[in-house]
């Protein structure tokens, strides 16, 4: 695999209580590319991306070992400033989760909590982020309307815009299109192709065709392990592992 490495994961193990959810994960995430994580439900892929921005810290009884090297430091270290980390590594969730506030306040939320108060600056950031998430044209005349009035697909793009407003480097997406209709889904997928020019994207998806369409590399998770990690075309056209083969051809999972 070629290209610059953004995040390098070494010997990552993670437990919830006595249950080991991730087993000896070793992969390198390419910079400015889309990396897809596929696998059956409960295989650890969501847990894995939540490790990358330390969201698993919110769960009781979580323990981890190993290294996640990002910008030369191990973000699993206990002295990592998770608040700072989450500005650089942002997350888009399965269900669109706009705050019950206006469209503008949603996008301005991140900059505001990070201390930006100037109205003009906030407006500039909001416009830039909404344009970046390909939703500006649809909302520019209704920025003061509640975000909850938007359609599901628009809400999800708003959530992406909200994330772009804090200028992260990495976007983590946990099944960002699973709750959306096909048209909204293809808008998100088109957006991913645009976003990867400036961001490193890691996407969890149940939809193999989606992984095939949007990503350059794909990792297949099974029972907390990465069974196979390869370029997307190799993984779907000629998987090397029997288990991957069975999964992508729909023989199990």
């Amino acid at each position: 695999m070629s290209g610059e490495i953004e995040i390098s994961i070494k010997n990552l193990n993670l437990w919830f209580g006595n249950f080991q959810a991730l087993k000896n994960i070793n992969i390198e995430i390419q910079k400015n590319a889309v990396t897809a994580l596929i696998g059956p439900s409960g295989c650890g892929k969501s847990t894995f991306i939540k490790t990358l921005d330390r969201m698993n810290d919110l769960v009781d009884n979580v323990k981890f070992t190993g290294e996640v090297i990002y910008k030369g430091r191990n973000i699993l270290d206990s002295d990592t400033d998770v608040v700072e980390l989450r500005k650089e590594i942002g997350m888009v969730f399965q269900k669109p989760n706009p705050f019950p506030k206006s469209i503008f306040d949603n996008v301005a939320y991140g900059p505001r909590v990070h201390g930006i108060r100037d109205k003009k600056t906030l407006h500039e950031i909001a416009e830039r982020s909404l344009k970046g998430a390909a939703i500006w044209d649809e909302v520019k005349d209704r920025l003061n309307e509640s975000a909850l009035r938007l359609s599901g697909g628009q809400q999800q793009r708003l959530c992406i815009a909200r994330l772009l407003a804090v200028e992260p480097d990495v976007l983590l997406m946990d099944e960002p299109a699973s709750a959306l209709d096909p048209i909204a889904t293809s808008k998100i997928e088109d957006l991913l192709h645009e976003l990867k020019k400036d961001y490193t994207i890691v996407i969890v998806t149940h939809n193999m065709q989606q992984a095939a369409r949007v990503s350059s590399h794909t990792a297949f998770f099974w029972l907390g392990e990465i069974v196979e990690y390869a370029s997307t075309i190799d993984l779907f056209e000629r998987p090397r592992n029997k288990r991957t083969e069975d999964y992508v051809t729909g023989k199990f999972g």
Binding site: D53, M55, L58, D60, V83, E84, L85, R86, K87, G90, M91, F93, K95, N97, P98, F99, P100, K101, Y109, G110, R112, V113, H114, E145, S146, A147, L148, R149, C159, R162, L163, V166
Partner: protein
């Protein structure tokens, strides 16, 4: 056919039970209002009661006393219960401490009000007399705070629990601190529930008699400070009935009390509905 018959019978019974509940409420309200409304006048509302139970006087000082005692109780209970709820729901994990807290609140809610009153009497009226002035609005308000606290704590906690986890994750995921997330996302979303909890608590405080019987003093004069003894409406009803058997004034006072409670309930309901709708973008 038998099943259908049973179905019909069950629906009939449930319908009957519902109607009975409604009827009881209507009867009570109507009885009090019919007997009390004729007495209510500007004069009744703005004149102080006669010291020895004279007819033709008003209830002004008792209204002031009710507002003062209830307001004080809320002032003390609101920050404690909301703060407690936030602490329990946002900062503790589901563990023993949380269970102990919740159980304690439940036990507190279950203690008969006369016993709370007894505690208030011993603690605020007697022990803290130099600070509370003995029988006073302050002693009564603090005692009532104990009755408001468990209700609003519990309801605030439920309201916070009902805020979707995705909103917290969304906020934290943008690099907000926990406190920022709570104040800017969680609290505004939970506000209707929290206010409802406080209103229910206030309703409890306004209507409470036993707990203030022993703590507030029962003086009919207009209060000038929180350390003055006072006689809220409920206590006034009790006093004039037991001492002067003045049912007319009792009905009048009761009608004012009920109208006040209904007004508070409907107004907050309306405001909260509007707020919730705005929150949902409708």
């Amino acid at each position: 056919m038998a099943a259908k018959l049973r179905e019909t019978a069950a629906i009939g019974l449930l319908w009957g039970a519902g109607i009975a509940t409604l009827l009881i409420l209507i009867v009570i309200l109507a009885y009090i209002l019919v007997n009390g409304l004729p007495l209510i006048s500007w004069h009744f509302l703005t004149t102080n009661p006669g010291v020895r139970g004279q007819q033709g006087t008003g209830i002004y000082s008792t209204i002031v006393a009710t507002v003062a005692v209830t307001g004080l109780a809320l002032l003390v209970a609101a920050p404690l219960s909301v703060g407690g709820a936030i602490y329990l729901n946002e900062y503790t994990k589901e563990n023993l401490l949380r269970k102990v807290f919740r159980q304690a609140a439940e036990v507190l809610a279950g203690i008969p009000s006369i016993i709370i009153g007894l505690f208030g009497f011993l603690f605020f009226v007697i022990y803290l007399q130099p600070y509370t002035g003995g029988w006073s609005v302050l002693s009564g308000g603090l005692t009532l705070a104990f009755m408001v606290l468990p209700i609003s704590l519990r309801i605030s906690e439920e309201a916070l629990k009902a805020v979707p986890g995705e909103l917290r994750e969304g906020s934290l995921g943008l690099g907000a601190t926990k406190w920022q997330s709570i104040t800017t996302v969680v609290m505004p979303t939970a506000l209707p529930g929290i206010i409802t909890g406080l209103i229910l608590g206030a309703g409890r405080a306004i209507g409470e008699t036993a707990a203030i019987l022993l703590t507030v003093g029962g003086a009919l004069g207009l209060i000038h400070g929180v350390r003055d003894p006072a006689c809220p409406m409920t206590l006034y009803i009790y006093n004039i009935l037991t001492e002067y058997n003045d049912t007319t004034t009792a009905y009048g006072t009761a009608a004012v009390l009920i109208i006040a409670i209904l007004a508070i309930t409907f107004t907050t309901d309306y405001l909260m509905n509007r707020y919730t709708k705005k929150l949902k973008g409708l």
